[in-house]
């Protein structure tokens, strides 16, 4: 913190004559408050004491219950004074003290008197105070006056009653809802603020009545709204109505769009912004609808007021996430904001530019950002790093400059979260862009030479152990790794020893030299480091001969533990030390919480080092392990692909089931992840009865039931189908969950002996062509296209019929084929009449496939498409055409 947070009374002596509150002390002020009890009130002095009390309260000082009560009773005496200034202070003071229910009674009569006073200002303030301190019973007594006040001709009185209503609606909704006629009348008030407050309250009263809100919006959008604030509310309520009503299917018009559009020309800036934001957030907004909003926002980018620039760039940043092309027109204005004094604006501008920029502008943008990075806080830097990571994945050809940028900022000062964001980004780029691997690994090596964070060092060492041996020259990483053994703490040293062992295991030529290094580690001061070195020397065959490492050893070093850690922990806890050794094979392999973990993983952004060898590979790995542990599936061969889980039940049903499709060359296995959400039931012998009558090419091979499914403890049952070898057979499967249900006594947790057989209908499951295609990207599409050659090129043209937009057509074809879009070509620029999309993938049988899609749209929204396929296999090229032709 830059400045000490001391109260004024702690100020230095040289300010002695400065503050009127110098040396103020709660006890002394409370003493002074006795002046309120004087028979002859000195209004000026009383006001001064109240000011002091307010000063204390406004600095976060609190009064004890006794102190507060004492002051409160004293303050109530001040109602005797006729001094107007003092009365105003008294109102404020009572609100600040918030008396308890039993004390309120003391002031109610005085306040009720003021509420019926002829002086408007007494009325308004008394209402505000009463509503602040009142409870339900008192409210019914004063309700009559409040209703009158809402339609009072004095706008201050009306506003006081309306704002009271907004607050009271939280605590006493039934009472406030009875005022809707008066509030409705107040909405028509000529006073701007009354209208604003009334509109806010009326909407809150009626927010659950769609028809009423719709009527309110319809009448107000036709009439006049006086206050810009009320106009903003109206725009918000209008968007709510639009959201609920959808587009007029006959005319294609969106109701109230014209109103929103007209608000873009309002004289108040806040109304313009509200309307622009409302338009950009419309569901399925078209580029025609978007354009006027973007135009006004663009004008505000060069406003002299920082708040307006911030509001504009914040809105455009949001638009850029869904419609990047719509924002590109603003790029020049946005670039000038990179040097904005206000760092929040500059950061938003940069992240927007990173989302909307094209390949040619990347280098220029990086130069600008480099200057900017040095003077922003870590939290902004993390946002920028994340944006750069997405940009690099979008334009893999630009990896060099983006990777250089990341490595440069990695060398500069920064906290843990920031450094972790950079390292995570580099790791993701290494994984997704093969060309970036070598340089990325070297950047990470340089970073660990001077890394102050143990966590990051160990994670990088682990990653190096997996990726380093696969590079062209693994020996160049050894120096960096072995340096850790000399220079770092025990945790990092132990990680370095494991990494060295991995190099030894994978690169036979390096083995003798690795042994020399490992032998040195045997003398380390830390036992874990010594133990690891000894273990690896033994497992790798410590004589140092250049021999190939055993498969088992590799499995030990690189394979993940094929039992869930949770299960291992439980088994170890139950193990009693005895002559009998702990047997790791006795640990159950059933993955209990898998469905939950999958759900979490799918919602998460790709995490770099956070989950080292997990990441995208891990689920496939886990599935592979799971399936290979089931003997019935052992002869199915290698798993080609596993789909994401498909939900077969609605949310919050008795039994939650989702299915994963595992594709093999000659088989398809459905893995049903089941969860029983009823504590009073135990399910046994759980199977899924699959009807494959609409999947002719499939024949059921076997079913693996789940023996028992207790409450909230997920389990899996499997059904396997045979299909013709290598053929991407498709079909629809209907599913029925069948089980024996047993009652459970929840107090003892014991189930009854007898059960009843029952069934539960699940949703259908489809196997589609895309299930046979693995999304595998290429870093340079043109090179890949050329190197695969035109031997098996197949070209044809298709009419896709009328489509909403080109974007919709492009994404439909992408999801039909299940391929990986390359170079950001899945995004269609606004207003485009034609578009080319590049896809790549690996078809079942490990056949590389590349696709160029050329789309064109004509007037009545008829979309035509030219499909060019190149692959390593003639029949696969034909198959892709068949998929499109039949899709």
């Amino acid at each position: 913190m830059a400045q000490p947070l001391v109260k004024k009374d702690d100020d230095r002596d040289d300010e002695a004559e400065y503050s009127p509150f110098l040396g103020i002390e709660k006890g002394a002020v409370l003493q002074e408050a006795r002046v309120f009890n004087d028979p002859q009130l000195d209004a000026r002095r009383c006001s001064q004491v109240i000011t002091k009390l307010l000063y204390l309260l406004n600095q976060g000082e609190t009064f004890t219950k006794v102190e507060a009560t004492e002051v409160f009773f004293a303050v109530t005496k001040l109602f005797q004074s006729r001094d107007i200034g003092l009365r105003r202070m008294v109102y404020l003071m009572i609100k600040e003290l918030s008396p308890s229910a039993d004390e309120v009674i003391i002031v109610t009569s005085s306040l009720m008197k003021d509420m019926n006073s002829k002086t408007d200002m007494y009325r308004a303030n008394a209402i505000r105070v009463l509503c602040r301190i009142t409870d339900g019973t008192l409210l019914t007594q004063i309700e009559r006056y409040l209703k009158q006040a809402i339609v009072d001709k004095n706008p201050v009185v009306a506003s006081a009653a309306l704002v009271s209503g907004i607050h009271l609606l939280q605590t006493n909704p039934e009472i406030v809802k009875r005022w809707s006629n008066e509030v409705q009348e107040a909405v028509q008030s000529r006073a701007a603020l009354v209208q604003f407050h009334a509109l806010g309250l009326l909407h809150q009263i009626r927010q659950n009545d769609r028809l009423a809100v719709s009527k309110l919006v319809t009448s107000l959008t036709r009439g006049t709204v006086r206050s810009p604030l009320a106009q903003c509310l109206l725009i918000r309520y209008t968007t709510q109505v639009i959201r609920e009503s959808g587009i007029n299917t006959q005319t294609g018009d969106r109701p109230f769009y014209d109103f929103l559009e007209s608000c873009l020309r309002h004289k108040a800036e806040m109304v313009i912004f509200e309307a622009a934001r409302a338009i950009t957030e419309l569901n399925g907004v078209t580029s025609r609808e978007l354009t006027p909003a973007i135009t006004v926002l663009q004008l505000f980018l060069s406003s002299s007021k920082p708040v307006l620039r911030f509001a504009a760039v914040r809105t455009l940043n949001k638009v850029a996430m869904t419609h990047p092309m719509a924002v590109t027109n603003c790029n020049i204005d946005m670039e000038s904001l990179i040097s904005d004094q206000n760092r929040s604006i500059a950061t938003l501008a940069i992240t927007t530019l990173l989302k909307t920029g094209n390949e040619s502008s990347v280098d220029r943008l990086m130069k600008q950002i480099t200057n900017f990075m040095s003077d922003i806080a870590d939290e902004f830097k993390i946002v920028v790093v994340e944006a750069i990571r997405s940009l690099c994945l979008k334009f893999p050809l630009k990896y060099r400059s983006l990777m250089n940028f990341l490595s440069n900022i990695l060398r500069e000062e920064g906290g843990f979260e920031y450094k972790k964001a950079i390292v995570d980004s580099i790791v993701i780029l290494i994984r997704d862009i093969p060309d970036a691997k070598e340089s990325g690994l070297l950047h990470l090596c340089e970073f660990i030479e001077d890394c102050e964070f143990t966590y990051l060092s160990t994670q990088i060492l682990h990653f190096l152990g997996i990726e380093g041996p696969k590079t062209a020259d693994p020996s160049k990483y050894i120096r960096y790794i072995y340096n850790r053994v000399h220079l770092e703490n025990a945790t990092v040293r132990a990680a370095a020893v494991s990494t060295l062992a991995k190099f030894g295991a994978m690169v036979d030529s390096l083995k003798p030299r690795i042994f020399v290094l490992l032998r040195r580690c045997v003398y380390d001061s830390d036992d874990e480091v010594r133990d690891r070195a000894t273990l690896y020397l033994n497992t790798l065959g410590g004589d140092g001969a250049v021999v190939e490492t055993d498969k088992d050893v590799k499995e030990f070093l690189f394979g993940s533990l094929d039992i869930p850690l949770g299960n291992l922990e439980t088994s170890l806890k139950h193990y009693e030390p005895s002559e009998e050794r702990f047997d790791i094979n006795s640990v159950p392999k059933e993955v209990k919480s898998q469905p939950l973990a999958e759900k979490k993983a799918s919602g998460k952004k790709p995490s770099g080092l956070g989950a080292p060898p997990s990441g995208p590979v891990s689920t496939v790995d886990a599935y592979e392990k799971l399936l290979s542990s089931i003997s019935e599936f052992s002869d199915f061969g290698k798993l080609f692909k596993s789909s994401a889980p498909v939900e077969l039940t609605e949310a919050e049903t008795e039994y939650a089931v989702n299915a994963v499709k595992h594709i093999f060359d000659r088989h398809v296995v459905f893995q049903y992840n089941c969860t029983n959400t009823i504590p009073e039931q135990l399910l046994e012998n759980v199977t899924v009865i699959v009807d494959a009558s609409e999947a002719e090419e499939f024949s059921e091979a076997l079913t693996k039931p789940l023996r028992s499914l207790p409450y909230d403890s997920p389990g899996q049952t499997f059904v396997a189908f045979e299909k013709p070898d290598g053929v991407p057979a498709v079909g629809k499967f209907s599913n029925m969950l069948r089980f024996i249900v047993k009652e459970v006594d929840t107090s003892t947790g014991e189930a009854e002996d007898d059960g009843v057989e029952d069934e539960y209908q699940l949703e259908d499951l489809d196997v589609v062509a895309a299930d046979y295609m693995m999304k595998v990207g290429v870093s340079n599409f043109r090179n890949a296209w050329e190197s695969i050659g035109e031997d098996f090129e197949r070209v044809d043209e298709y009419g896709l019929g009328p489509r909403e937009s080109l974007t919709e057509a492009v994404s439909a074809v992408i999801s039909l084929l299940g391929m990986q879009p390359c170079e950001g070509t899945e995004v269609v620029p606004n207003n485009s009449r034609s578009h080319t999309c590049l896809l790549s993938g690996l078809f079942i049988g490990n056949v590389k496939v590349l696709v160029r899609l050329q789309f064109g749209i004509d007037g009545p929204k008829e979309v035509a498409m030219k499909l060019i396929v190149r692959s390593e296999d003639e029949s696969v090229s034909d198959m892709i055409h068949e998929i499109v032709a039949s899709g």
């Binding site: 947070l5 307010l54 407050h197």
Partner: protein, 147 residues
């Protein structure tokens, strides 16, 4: 909801702090965050020039007026634009009460009146009044001129 209105002097000492719907244990965090924000950015800023920041889903608009820095924090419907309206009402009211751009001493001398103005502008996290003239009259319990 307007989560906080905070006044600090040029050294970062708190003059007024009013929180709405902010748990007591988070107030210290907000206080230090805002004071640091001001220390980092308000140097050399012209009187009443608005600065803006966002922290998670919360917006902050702040400015300097003489010796006093003013911060307003809001969320949901009180975004940067609504807060700009609030802070404009506050700065106008403070100038009116003080008769000029306030020194710290002048601000403290008029402390009671300033509290009344705040009471008219923000009521438990909701914006109540924005018009300068009306606020000036209301703190003296005078009816507004418009009726």
């Amino acid at each position: 909801m307007i989560l906080a209105v905070l006044f600090a002097n040029s050294e970062g000492n708190i003059l007024v702090e009013r929180f709405n719907g902010v748990p007591a244990e988070e107030r210290l965090h907000w206080r230090s965050f805002l004071v640091k924000l001001g220390a980092d950015n308000l140097k050399g800023v012209k009187n009443e020039e608005l600065l803006v920041a966002s922290h998670k889903s919360v917006y902050i608009v702040y400015t300097v007026l003489g010796d006093v820095s003013i911060f307003v924090v809001g969320k949901d419907e009180y975004d940067e634009l609504a807060l700009a309206e609030v802070i404009f009402a506050i700065t106008s009211a403070v100038k009116d009460v003080c008769g000029k751009i306030p020194s710290e001493r002048l601000f403290l001398d008029k402390y009671g009146k300033i509290c009344l103005c705040l009471d008219e502008i923000v009521w438990k996290g909701l914006l109540e009044n924005t018009e300068r003239d009306r606020i000036r009259r209301l703190v003296r319990l005078k009816p507004p001129t418009e009726i």
